[in-house]
Structures are given as structure tokens and as C-alpha cells.
Symmetry: C2
């Protein structure tokens, strides 16, 4: 008994008793929203301390983990990052100017553009990644490994039920 969402739920139960039986989704959705904002702030600050923007970090890690030749089309990046195509174009514009990625036009299909991680982009990503993971581990410091695994299972089930497959 005691995070902000518990307070929110009891406030509603007090103010509108007729809603009490319908408040149960808030314990999950409300907390997911709060955690989402908290994590965004935290990771944004961590990225900024390394001279990176959150969206850039997103693109860098997506390209790096895709493996050789470290290329993805703009469309693949859109699906992977859950933002619109305009945002991806914008990110790539900035990152190309910084020398982190380069655009490579596809020979077979000249509509598609592949975004390729540069040597420099890869170095920065790998240097960043282990610290990034350590930072995430710190954020989860209040939970045991077993609790993390259990929480992860619950979140996975919810994501799966929402149709969050890898690249649909």
C-alpha cells in the first residue's frame, strides 16, 4: 500500500463510489503510464549525458543489434521504433549530418533507402551500450532478479495480447 496510483484509486473510490468496481484497470494502466514517463525522463537524461538524443539512441541500437551489414530500410526502422515515418526521416537527417549513419539507395528497388551504421556510429553505440544496460539495472535495483523475471513475464503476456510481435 503506497505508490501514487494507490492514492489515485482511493481518491476515485471516495469521490465516485459508483465507479469502484470498474477501477481495477488503473492499477496496471496507470502504473504503466507513470513508469513510461519516468523511464523516458531517466533514459533521455542518460543519453543526453553522452551527447545523444533518445531517438538517435533508438536508431543506433536498432541498427547495431540487427547485425551485419548493419543496415535497415526506413520502413523497418518505423516499425521497430513505433514512431511515424516523418520522425525517422528527421532522425536520419540529423544522424547523417553527425556521421553516425549514411543513406544507401537500394539498387534493386529505388524507392527504398537503407540506413547504414557508420564505423563511428557503431563505436559510439557499443561504447554506450554496456553503460546503458548498467543504468537500466540500476533503475531496477529495487527488484530481485526473480521479481524482474516475473514482471517481465506479465508484461510479455500483455504485449503479446496486444499483437506486439517482432516485425508485423
Amino acid at each position: 500500500m503506497g505508490d501514487a496510483v494507490d492514492v489515485i484509486i482511493s481518491q476515485w473510490a471516495e469521490e465516485r463510489p459508483e465507479l469502484e468496481d470498474d477501477l481495477w484497470p488503473v492499477q496496471v494502466v496507470g502504473r504503466l503510464q507513470r513508469l513510461g514517463r519516468y523511464l523516458e525522463r531517466e533514459i533521455k537524461a542518460f543519453a543526453a549525458s553522452h551527447g545523444l538524443e533518445m531517438g538517435e539512441l533508438d536508431v543506433l541500437t536498432t541498427l547495431q543489434r540487427s547485425g551485419p551489414p548493419y543496415e535497415l530500410t526506413a520502413g523497418q526502422l518505423v516499425k521497430a521504433s513505433m514512431v511515424t515515418s516523418g520522425a525517422i526521416t528527421n532522425r536520419i537527417d540529423r544522424m547523417e549530418a553527425k556521421g553516425l549513419v549514411e543513406r544507401v539507395r537500394d539498387e534493386g528497388d529505388r524507392r527504398t533507402v537503407r540506413m547504414r551504421l557508420t564505423e563511428r556510429g557503431s563505436e559510439i553505440t557499443l561504447a554506450f551500450m554496456s553503460e546503458h544496460l548498467a543504468n537500466e539495472a540500476r533503475i531496477l535495483g529495487g527488484l530481485s532478479r526473480a521479481e524482474c523475471a516475473q514482471l517481465g513475464d506479465g508484461l510479455r503476456k500483455l504485449l503479446e495480447s496486444l499483437g506486439d510481435t517482432s516485425m508485423s
Copy 2:
């Protein structure tokens, strides 16, 4: 075995085997980020279908659940909503123009401004709330009530460990 985050983790393990033992935070943090974005999109669309903006919905529900006299200071709204003071000023400006809230200068301390829910704002909020809860219940449809409770407990523990008390 099968949401997008499972794929991300196995991609990293393949591309950078030396990171494998440090990837465990991703199963929680990665999923929280994806769910956060998913929920944001979903709730934003639902709010828009009722002529409301997400930030406005946030202010309306915060004021309503605070109970009579349905007033909070700008500072209290900042803490409750996890956005900056500029965003709150901006939201209240718009909502005041729409007649959803009204600014009331505090008599005792003339620095503070209370944001009061209008009659119209309250009506809209209450009409919206039960549908909003039904929508959240729909989003959680893939989980049983027991699973929701368990997931909620895990999320609460994480929030508490991050210091997310009601109004600190």
C-alpha cells in the same frame, strides 16, 4: 516465447555475445517502454474521439478525483502529471478558453493560482470516465483479473522503489 522484446534480446545476444549476461534488464525496461508508447497512442486516440486532448484529460481527471472544491494549484498539477510547469500553464490556458476550468487567485498567497473545475468540465469528465475505464479494461482483455492484480503488484513495487509516492 514471442513478443518484440524477446526478439530484441536474442538479437543482442547474437550480435554481442559478451553482453548476454547483462541483458536481463531489457525484459522489463524494454517492455515498459513499448507498453508506454502503445498506451499513449491508444488513450490519445480515445480522448481525441471525445474531442479532448490527452493532457487535458489528465488535468480534468486529476481535478475531479481530488474531490470538492475541485481545485488544485498549478504546482500540485505539475507534480501529479509529471510534466513541466510550462506545459501546465499551456494546458490551463487552452482549457480555460474551452470553459473546462477557471483560474482562481489564492487570497492568502497571491503567487499561487488555483485551477478550478467548472460545472461543464465536471460533467464532461464524469461522462468520459466510465467509458475511459471500459476502454482500459478492453486493453487489458488479454489478462485475467488475477494476472492484472499480480502485474499491478510488481509494477507498484518498482514504482515504490523509484520513490513514486503520492505527492512528494
